[in-house]
Symmetry: C2
Subunit: 237 residues, 2 copies
């Protein structure tokens, strides 16, 4: 802080010791959302978190919407970087889909509060489907499949099926983690409203099964199915 160059007054509450920068603003927003959830993210609160005047943020980002897009971009690019390193690696297309799926899942679980944003922000183009919502990502995906012998049409069909699969599974998985937690504290972690299950005998009887978490196994199983689906559409169409 008192390093002689920055004339800023108060120290930031968080990790931002020096000059404000677009990257620093966006990174702070990701941290803030990870910590407190989307609902708490406010331009003014982010300013306080960074230890700067709230208006200073507007010098690096045009407004709140652009900031949210940038937050999504950070998470999306994280996975992109992981996958780019493997681009040249040998391997079949199904091994590629497998790696990509688990990379995206890793990012979603690392930022469960951000992922719903990845899923629902209006994409820049209608064919940019969440969560693979950057042109670079789509390019990489399609190129890999084309390189594996897919026709253009087949590669696009695989892109569509793959994104649907990822979105459904990951959105449900992160939403089960307890995203938000902002309203009043839940009554008790055990029996969540068992009392009002009076008229629902089947649900009541399966309460134990419904509460068990098999996310990882179900994800893998659905992924296997998806790969089979893509393989079938490849030979079929």
């Amino acid at each position: 802080m008192a390093d002689g160059l920055t004339g800023a007054g108060r120290p930031g509450t968080a990790a931002s010791p020096r000059q404000l920068t677009r990257g620093r603003v966006v990174q702070a927003a990701v941290e803030f959302v990870d910590k407190h959830g989307m609902r708490e993210l406010t331009m003014r609160r982010l300013g306080a978190y960074l230890g700067v005047d709230p208006m200073a943020i507007y010098r690096h980002v045009p407004g709140r919407d652009a900031l949210l897009d940038a937050v999504v971009g950070v998470v999306v690019d994280d996975v992109l970087e992981v996958m780019r390193r493997e681009e040249a690696e040998p391997g079949t297309w199904d091994a590629y889909l497998e790696r990509l799926a688990h990379a995206v899942r890793g990012a979603a679980l690392a930022h469960p509060q951000v992922f719903p944003l990845v899923a629902t922000r209006p994409p820049a183009a209608p064919w940019l489907r969440p969560p693979l919502r950057s042109v670079r990502w789509v390019e990489l995906f399609l190129r890999t499949l084309r390189g594996a012998g897919f026709s253009g049409r087949q590669a696009v069909a695989a892109y569509r099926a793959f994104t649907s699969f990822l979105l459904g599974h990951l959105l449900l998985e992160v939403s089960a983690i307890g995203v938000d937690t902002s309203p009043v504290d839940e009554p008790a972690p055990t029996d969540p409203g068992v009392g009002d299950l009076a008229g629902f005998p089947t649900v009541a009887g399966l309460q134990a099964e419904l509460t068990e978490d098999h996310s990882a196994a179900e994800f893998q199983r659905a992924l296997d199915d998806l790969v089979a689906h893509v393989a079938a559409m490849r030979t079929g169409a």
Copy 2:
């Protein structure tokens, strides 16, 4: 309006000729969101839309969050009602899944602006998975499958796979419809940013295929796959 009974002063801008009611408030909110999108929905604007004092809404709904939950509930219950009528109908479990899937898709396409809310509002319990997010719905689903010979565990697994499938496909389908449209008008409906596709030859080359819409066929194909998946998990496990 001037039907002699209601003493209200100004006529509502929309269809609300008589006494304010919880149902009327929620219904107006659904209409408003269908027309203007989630971002525009405000307690004050909803009051204006109903032609009442904004504070009057609070007499029928505890707050904004509760209103949003109620909006989701309306869409969810629409489908529920359709399916309940068919509960006693004969038919195999896969015909049931088929009907239910298309019923939910119909609701999503009827309210594309509301569906992202159905998908992302934190559920009342972690095992209430969007878009089948009411206990009554889960009860009906599980009961039907149990009735078709599924074990409890198998029925729950089918419930999980089915909700993931629906959520991924429908969220992507409605988001492609052009949900929002609130920011500045798009430049042109044709070539969406073809200019910046310089470094992305594969995407550029597949622009036509990427723009084509095969939602209905893809939904059906994925649904067939899901049914096969469930059938396999039933004989397998």
